[in-house]
């Protein structure tokens, strides 16, 4: 197999080798050396390595700052001022030995940061090779193989584990891109078999909730908005797009049932939207029926009048409002929680059909929780930033509980990374795709004629108090009158917004 490897990539490999002198990857070394002997010219339009100043890298403690500073350099056209540059310009890949020598001195002093940087470079290169202007699946494969050697999902630093999951995700794209339907990839689990054991799922879910505010933020904000909207109603009907294990409604029921003054607890009816077949996803904590039983029992235990219904989506996961059983006089609430770490991916068309169907029903209130896309607009780096922030946020509070975090990462975050990347690279590239479905759902709702409903002081306050229970790095940000976002440091991760018709 002839490989088109640019000299710069070759140098990157050589650099890898120097760092990995301690690693026993002999077999791989031989292969790559052989590859270096082929000089097929530069198929790679960018210089490599894409970092200006190794000194800056050395001094940079915050990996994310580094990434951001790199991004500030603009696209990927970096100037290379490193001694290595001369080698690059000569285009002579057989200088790997020389570069190895010159590199050793610098590399050894950089430590983990440079490894992290290198990982990012390689990931970017792989992503670019897979999907960029100069596609080369072979090149991508080489890079990914290299990456796989360097990182493991259970060992190492945050960056290393993150890179491992991204590597897996890209690998999934690689394998899948060879003719398999893209939709297949947007599945609820990475390319390898991800039948998580039930206990893993539950353990990871419990840990996720204990270690981070992600789950509660969305649920509590939505619930508070619901409570305020139905304060005077006797009957409340909530249509939940993705009820999962139902925990969101535990606190709502508690709030409804415990109102001391004012009208007695309203009757609460919840309709869970269900999907046929594998709709519940591989990562499900139980069936919808179980959720219904649990919620019913919980309601009974607190004296909350309650009934549970299901409404099935069509085969193509389209929502038909007529399938919903409605009762006169009930306040209709539409709840659409997407993208929480433990959630399954839902196809944009399905979400769109649900929301537009919901509009026809004239709900009192629509609550939406979704991922926030970064300023770069949702591409590969953005996704990397996003999950880097999530990994960091978990570590910040629980630096010693790496195994717990590793479990959460493996069960939830890894698969989410896969689906996110699949969405990034496969959505929008197909004919007939509605581009607007790839943007934030909040914007879609606004464009679709939904009215924003302001988030109250109490709700905002609750969010802040909730975050106060966790690390200071978490922030609530008011993005709009009807929308607040949960962020880690400077990165917005999740947003909750409230709408009506």
């Amino acid at each position: 197999m002839s490989l088109v490897i640019s000299s710069s990539i070759a140098i990157a490999m050589a650099m890898d080798d120097t760092l990995e002198l301690d690693y026993s990857v002999h077999s791989n070394n031989t292969t790559t050396t052989a590859e270096y002997d082929h000089d097929y010219g530069c198929n790679w339009q960018y210089s490599w390595p894409p970092v200006d100043d190794w000194e800056a890298v050395a001094g940079c403690d915050d990996f994310r700052d580094l990434i951001e500073s790199m991004m500030d350099d603009g696209e990927l056209n970096f100037n290379l001022q490193h001694p290595c540059e001369q080698v690059v310009e000569e285009g002579n890949s057989s200088n790997s030995d020389m570069t190895a020598d010159t590199m050793v001195v610098d590399e050894e002093t950089k430590g983990d940061d440079s490894k992290g940087v290198k990982l990012v470079h390689l990931l970017m290169a792989a992503a670019e090779a897979l999907t960029g202007a100069n596609k080369s699946r072979d090149l991508a494969r080489v890079i990914l193989v290299r990456l796989k050697e360097m990182v493991s999902p259970t060992d190492g630093t945050n960056m290393e584990r993150l890179a491992a999951y991204f590597t897996e995700a890209l690998y999934g794209l690689l394998e899948g891109a060879g003719g398999v339907q893209p939709k297949h990839l947007i599945s609820n689990g990475p390319h390898r078999d991800e039948r998580h054991h039930h206990t893993d799922l539950l353990a990871a879910f419990q840990l996720l909730q204990d270690m981070s505010p992600y789950v509660k933020f969305g649920h509590f904000t939505a619930n508070q908005a619901v409570l305020e909207a139905v304060a005077q109603d006797r009957r409340v009907h909530i249509v939940d797009f993705d009820i999962m294990e139902g925990i969101q409604w535990a606190s709502l029921m508690q709030a409804l049932a415990s109102k001391k003054d004012g009208p007695p607890a309203p009757h609460l009816r919840i309709t869970a939207i269900t999907r046929g077949g594998s709709g519940s996803g591989r990562r499900s904590i139980g069936t919808i029926q179980e959720t219904g039983r649990r919620l019913t029992a919980f309601a009974a235990s607190i004296g909350q009048p309650f009934s549970f219904y299901q409404c099935r989506l069509d085969k193509d996961e389209t929502f038909r409002p007529s399938a919903l059983k409605l009762v006169r006089g009930e306040a209709l609430v539409v709840n659409c929680i997407l993208h929480l770490p433990h959630f399954n991916h839902r196809a944009p068309q399905s979400v769109a059909s649900f929301l537009s169907g919901a509009k026809t029903l004239n709900p009192r209130i629509v609550t939406l929780v979704e991922e926030e896309v970064g300023p770069i607009g949702g591409g590969f780096m953005d996704t990397l930033h996003h999950y880097s922030a999530v990994f960091d946020s978990l570590e910040a509070d629980f630096p010693m509980h790496s195994r717990a975090r590793a479990l959460v990462e493996r069960v939830f975050l890894g698969p989410r990374i896969s689906t996110s990347l699949a969405r990034v690279y496969l959505a929008g590239g197909r004919d007939g795709d509605d581009e607007s479905l790839n943007g934030p759902w909040g914007e879609w709702l606004a464009a679709g004629g939904f009215r924003p409903i302001p988030i109250s002081f109490a709700n905002h306050c609750q969010a802040k108090l909730l975050l106060g229970l966790f690390n200071d790095g978490y922030r609530v940000e008011e993005l709009a009158n009807n929308k607040i976002a949960l962020g880690w440091k400077s990165r917005r991760l999740l947003s909750a917004s409230v709408w009506s018709t």
Binding site: H197, H198, Q206, M253, I302, G303, D397, P399, C461, L465
Partner: protein, 362 residues
Amino acid sequence: MFQHKKPSTMNSHDRPMCVQGDSGLVLTTDPKPRLRWTVELHERFVDAVTQLGGPDKATPKTIMRVMGVKGLTLYHLKSHLQKFRLGKQPHKEFNDHSIKDASSLELQRNTASSSNIMARSMNEMQMEVQRRLHEQLEVQRHLQLRIEAQGKYMQSILEKACQTLAGESMASGSYKANIGSQGLPDMGVMKDFGSPLNFPSFQDLNIFGGDQLDLQHNMERPQLDGFMQNNDNICLGKKRTSPYSGSGKSPLIWSDDLRLQDLGTTPSCLGPQDHDPFKSADQIQISRPSMDRSGADIDSISDIYETKPPLQGGGDSMGEKKFEASVKLEKPSPRRAPLPTDRMNPMINAGAMPQGRNSPFG
């Protein structure tokens, strides 16, 4: 403000005669010459106070200096300032003061005066602030209850899973085999923490049998145990002390709440029924269960969870403290919640929320 004071028993025809002195001050002619705080005088007073940075910053001496009014004594200013300060806190009791001072009557009658208007708007602002503070306290209280509700619901899920697994393990006859198939490394994760969740307690299932009560004991305990690593950091995550928690921005109540996390709900909720979990941490871990439950099983349960010696490092403890802090609030806390149920073991009621409900749900 002044106008809200209860009308004194004096009414207009009882008003003592006033004379205007040389200095421009109006003094009454009754045996004890009292200064009448006219509108103009009061306005000057308020101006001076504002200049000095508000009623809390201003002192009679400085006010006197700023006002520069001859014949005005510290005594006059002291009492007037006190009333002024009290007037800024509308719900405080100031009725007794108002009765004594005739000047309050004067002000009450001059409702259109600018100083009253100013006072009123300041009052409204104050009330708005008060309202917000109350609301915030309400939100805090509700948040706690809601987190507890989620926690209880989680319990029901975990219990169900435990029962299912218990069934499986019994059926298969060998628990170890099950563990293997489940992916031992992950169970190991839990073991590392000394069973942060219920699952390692599956081991106990074989030992303690499928007794519902024990199951629940096992369920509840590990909730936090693992993360606390059975060490002396049961200091319920006093958030402030954790280096990871930053500037301790938890306002007012939370840190206290954290400390008060009640044992009864989940054994892991550190314990001691007193509000001082930070002390005698070592004992807490062990004594806690026995405090909560009866039965010889308990001590052996705690033995099982005592898998690691108490950690001494600050780093570890901090991280765990933080975790405890966050987890704590997830746990139902009967002491705080309006559930006067069996505080010792509400979970035996399988998380029934209101008092008297004994049916486990889930």
